[in-house]
Amino acid sequence: MKKSRRKFLKVAGISALGIGMTPAITTFASSESQGTGTVDAVKSKNAEVFSAKRWGMVIDTSKLTDAIAANITDACHKAHNVPDFNHEPDKEKFPKTSPVNHHQEVKWIWKEHFEHAFPDKEDEFLAEKFKELPFLVTCNHCKNAPCVQACPTQATFKREDGIVLMDFHRCIGCRFCMAACPFGARSFNFRDPRPFIEQTNSSFPTRTKGVVEKCNLCAERLAKGQQPYCAEASQGAIVVGDLENSESEIRQLLNEKYSIRRKQELGTEPSVYYLM
């Protein structure tokens, strides 16, 4: 009797040890195999992709006219299916659309007066020309983006290359990011945007009711090795490039001329520079 109890305790002890070890062993084994996971193996980067350490934008205010600014906004908004609430919806396609509030806006890049774009720089005897110049404003893709910190679902995030991007699938429409953004660069879709898109561009998805949207620095075009729409339509007024690369075109432009950024004192480190 005594002997068998001793034996039983021995066996029980060893098996308890074994059971305790299994989770540790399995996690160890799985972490080893993760390095060669199928996801990593089957994906390869596009060859023609444009890449940068930190994407930035330079807007040359002397080259920007009202007509060019309008073209830029138009090119961007059309390509990204940004709704225009002044557009009368097609009654046949969207019979249930309720009346429009024309004050409602969704915008990615738009014209602003100097005193609104740079409220901290509005001096009493500011050169007259600044009062008439069109200033294009958009998402600044800040280095310390407050919207990224505010987003509770990580729908807004900072990509490795500096672009502040949105995962529209993940946005829950809480609008914390809109409150956090000091530049008003974000718009909320209070209603289904589709009836207010004149010509839907099928190469870019639309958004849906209840999500926030903003400029994505044409991440979809950079992936194909193309310049953003705004740079393309700007006739040289907008240059997009790598801020961290001292050889890049935008760094050279910044070297040559005096530049300002919007609300720099807030410490968000905007990546959009305005050449004066």
Binding site: V42, V49, F94, F157, R159, F168, T200, S203, E220
Partner: protein, 132 residues
């Protein structure tokens, strides 16, 4: 006497409980519909994954693609069969919808049958297919 009543009651219960099964037994519309392939898809013959894998796992694949494109800026998918695909549901000819051009005959057929309503189409679709 009560024995008969119990048996009758049991039979009624079993018949009632199995109602969905015998009710649908002879009906032809309960057979799962076959999605119709578009001309392009027929010509291409190869899809991203093997047929049965695709049938079962296309939603996880799309989920993975989305994260890859949006988060990692990685848009090229090399399938196990060696083909390369642009990771996109609805943009361009090399996307899902670019090949499976008819959403109603391809996607909706099974989705309707399985009574699932994915909200992909609220943002991703061709304008001509918007019916609301």
């Amino acid at each position: 006497m009560s024995k008969n009543a119990i048996i009758v009651g049991l039979v009624i219960f079993v018949v009632a409980a199995l109602f969905p099964f015998w009710f649908n037994l002879g009906r032809s519309d309960t057979v799962a519909p076959k999605p119709e392939l578009s001309e392009q898809a027929k010509a291409a013959k190869k899809c991203v994954l093997e047929k049965y894998d695709m049938r079962a796992n296309h939603m996880s694949l799309l989920d993975e693609w989305r994260d890859s494109v949006v988060r990692d800026a990685d848009r090229m998918y090399e399938a196990a069969n060696g083909e390369k695909f642009q990771m996109s549901l609805s943009t361009g000819d090399n996307s899902c919808i670019g090949c499976h051009t008819n959403k109603e005959k391809f996607c909706d057929k099974c989705h309707d049958y399985a009574s699932v309503a994915p909200y992909c189409w609220e943002c991703h679709t061709n304008p001509k297919e918007i019916t609301q």
